[in-house]
Symmetry: C2
Subunit: 199 residues, 2 copies
DNA sequence: ATGGTTTTATGATCTTAATCATAAAAAAGT
DNA sequence: ACTTTTTTATGATTAAGATCATAAAACCAT
């Protein structure tokens, strides 16, 4: 989202996180702007029984956790490294100062927020009114749409998400996802090769 | 959100809608900024079987449906009048021009977006991992928090939502909401007087 | 006042996804 | 190479909330 030179000039530092490590926790105060440099970060919630809901997965150059920097509230979810990762960290004040000096980038962030709101509106409606197969297709199409176009061969997108991750993104259980995917394959909505899902 | 004088100066008009009338439909292109003047507007989705999900309810002076004005996508939900209402309507271009000329208000919209994202993140996680009673309390507390402080007597908030609306906001069925509310009353989490819920 | 609509209410039954149990294949770590 | 962990897989059972049916109370319109 913000180029490396600008990040460095503004005072950002590159932090390393091990797989499974938390960058911040639900309920804590937002002090930094974060942007993935290497690896994968997920934002998630756990309920009392430990069931996970994944709010989003962020890869190379994607920023996350900005909303509480724009308004006064605490993180609604955790940020956790899915794999060993490197993440740019820029203090809140410096981030906001940078945006003031770069209105064009400020606009980009506004439209990113709007787009994320769009995605959340769709997912919450899906989860509350649609059945498993429908929900799974939505997520697959969302990830397909947001994937690197170069990785899509002959209009076929290879899903790099595990069945468990699909479950945690759709509010389903892993067994339900496995069974639904099989049904979707029978219906011709996707296909499976070497256990990988293609859509 | 935007004061009446500014709205009029920018070229907004006041439109009337009857109860049940749609202001716009899911999938259509956003051409206007909307702000409630009188009445109540809900944004919602219907699935194939007609089951409704209410994304949000907007009252006096609240704006809605702005996200697609900031990025390039179509409405993810409908806007429908809950009661006879009057709504300010300002063409997209004039709205964006107004924001450019008023950076302070632009900031307000950004933080409104951020806050709405916060609410959606909480609701989607609730709906996918929490049980009925928990979800209902969340919604009640959200509406309590966003209610006019003058209407709260001795820290007790009177819920003006119907059981059906609570159901459509939480992805539950009306019977489940009715039964859950009764249980919550037994547990002392809320009380019912003349069929109205107080929290 | 009266008839129609909406809202709240409650019991009975059903259905779907969750849960539980178990295991094999694949991937990762030492 | 071998052990451990993760991921995918499948069958059996359960439970929670949805669905169905019905009705009374409250509200609204004329």
């Amino acid at each position: 989202m913000i180029d490396h030179t600008s990040l460095l000039n503004s005072g950002a530092v590159l932090k390393k996180y091990k797989r499974g490590e938390f960058l911040f926790r639900e309920g804590s105060i937002a002090r930094y702007y974060y942007q993935v440099h290497q690896g994968e970060i997920k934002m998630n919630n756990y309920n009392q029984e430990g069931k996970e809901y994944i709010q989003g997965i962020f890869t190379k150059e994607k920023s996350f956790g900005e909303p509480p920097l724009f308004a006064d509230f605490k993180y609604p979810a955790n940020a956790e490294a899915i794999v060993d990762s490197e993440v740019w960290q820029l203090p809140k004040e410096k981030f906001l100062k940078f945006l003031e000096e770069n209105p064009d980038i400020h606009h980009k962030f506004t439209s990113t927020l709007a787009l994320r709101l769009y995605y959340k509106a769709i997912m919450v409606s899906e989860i509350s009114t649609q059945e498993p197969e429908h929900r799974i297709l939505r997520i697959l199409d969302y990830f397909k749409k947001n994937s690197d176009p170069n990785t899509i061969e002959s209009n076929t997108y290879k899903v790099e998400l595990t069945r468990q991750q699909l479950a945690d993104l759709t509010g389903l259980r892993v067994e339900t996802v496995i069974r639904s995917i099989k049904k979707l394959e029978q219906k011709g909505e996707l296909f499976i090769k070497d256990r990988k899902v293609y859509r």
